[in-house]
């Protein structure tokens, strides 16, 4: 096994493990901390794909800014196990059934991974994730969606002001 492969398997295993820990942890603060680990492993994957810019942005924006906000909100709300609402048994059952159905679909996907090999979209060259190429794609092929996103942010901003104003 090459170093890249070893790194890939290590990061993947860590990502899956910490994602499960996000769900299993009793304390919300621990969940958030595990989620930060997930973001770090995903950033590691980005680096393996030669997309350093995305890796850094992912760390700064998600692991840095958003998760800190998350942590603040959770600490301010002072959640603990006592205040957690009790769900009805039927609700839990319905959740298990629908989640199980979805899991079945996804597992049947993975079972066909043999067929999928070499069929999914593959990067031909390793430099598409570099910042220069990303910028070119963003401002040439994807310039219309890029500009239209500003309407989205503007409406969110107006909304925040409307909600926040007295």
């Amino acid at each position: 096994m090459s170093t890249t492969e070893i790194l890939f398997y290590f990061l993947s295993a860590l990502a899956v493990f910490s994602a499960i820990m996000v769900l299993v942890s009793k304390s919300p603060v621990h969940s958030v901390l595990w989620l930060i680990v997930v973001f770090f492993t995903i950033s590691g994957h980005y680096v393996l794909l030669n997309a350093q810019f995305l890796a850094i942005v992912n760390l700064i924006v998600y692991a840095g800014a958003i998760m800190v906000l998350f942590l603040f909100v959770i600490m301010l709300m002072n959640l603990n196990t006592q205040t957690e609402p009790q769900k009805h048994i039927w609700m839990k059952l319905a959740g298990v059934i629908s989640g199980g159905c979805f899991l079945m679909v996804l597992i049947s996907l993975v079972r066909q991974a043999g067929d999928m090999q070499g069929k999914t979209a593959l990067m031909k060259t390793g430099n598409i994730g570099l910042i220069g190429n990303l910028g070119k794609a963003l401002f040439q092929d994807y310039v219309v969606p890029f500009e239209i996103t500003s309407v989205l942010f503007l409406s969110a901003m107006v909304g925040a002001v409307v909600i926040g104003k007295k």
Partner: protein
Amino acid sequence: MNAIIVSALLGVLMMFSGIWVKNRAAITNIAAAGLLLLVIANLLNTYGVWVIHVNTHGMLEFQQFGLFFNTIAFTATLLYVLLSGRDMERTGADTAEYYALVFFVLCGVSILTSFNGLLMLFLGIEILSIPLYILTGADKKNLRSNEASLKYFLMGCFSTGILLMGITLIYGATGNFSFGNSQPIPGTTMVSAPFLEVAGILLVFVSMAFKVSAAPFHFWTPDVYDGAPSVFTSFMATVVKAAGFIAFVRLFSMHTALMGPSWRIIVTFVIIATLLVGNITAVFQQSVKRMLAYSSIAQAGFMLFALYSDNDLAKEGILLYSIAYSLATIGIFAILIKMNDYTFDGFNGLAKTHPVLAAANTVFLLSLAGIPLTAGFFAKYYMLASAVKAGGSIWLVIIAVIFAAVSVYYYFRVIQAMYFKEGTPSVVPTGKSFHTLLIITAAAIILIGLFPSWVLNFLYF
């Protein structure tokens, strides 16, 4: 493209008008003028005149079908502002901002009618949804409005997450953001992995079904429609919902071949569940507003036939349905907002005290029920006929007709309360122009019911 640019600019204009114009009625007038401008800009686009030439790199595609729906949506919004603008001014202090958000929603609508690929679909749906979360919570002092807003926001976020997951799977399978057909983006190889794509399409379907409140993804609808200020419920239940359906139909008409016959089984299940939940639950409601929320689920069941049959008749049908449903529902809500009591008993004796309101309301309700000579009849007829023409199951059509008959019961309860029960309804004073507009709307519904081809001809010329 005209509509997208002009609506975004008008949104910004409305924000600034909040600073410069203090008179709220004037703000409503500016919004109405803006909408008129928007309709004209869109009509120009339909006939080949562009405000600015934009190379969209295949991200957007402007066809007669989408542009014609734009015209319908903008005209319906204009009618809505003229009928219910006064009430929007009363909802809260930020009238100009509400109008700005309405214009941003319309920008989302015009993206949804012209997207070509999942990336633009996602942007359109988000631009459509985010202003709605705010408008739902516009009545900040009302706890139910707050609850509805938060509920809508959280559920909407989940559905967006599911949509993104689906888009990711489709992208992984095909290497581009459009459904299956076009060229891969540079730097990737494109090969097909159908199972991965099918799983992605299913997730996108779930998310879209949530947005148009089809069962079993409808649970947010009654609470949100009931909790939101009635003016905004009116907008959400009509223009926004119809736009969701147009996006749904455009998206899935591109690719149904991939799924084969199993596609119809899924849609059949969703149609029957939606008709069942919407109609049966609406029968037991005591509040007219909540009944209308369930009736909007029931009407969604009929609109889903456009997905089932996926032919030209279905496309004409969904446009006709959008017009019939939007006009009637905007009219009913405009009257409902004027009532102080939202229960069925609140309408008792309305015919004696306010004959014009009662008569117009009757026409709207008859149209929603699908009685002949109203637009609603032809809307339902086109949807069912398209299913028959597409060689669909005749049982599905029979079930739909039965549920249409069930819907007559709860619509007629309102008519019965207005005409055959004694009472003194308390109604906010209404002006002459309001009455005139209601009569015009009712007349339009009857005219379209008599000559549906007048409207549908615009689709081809």
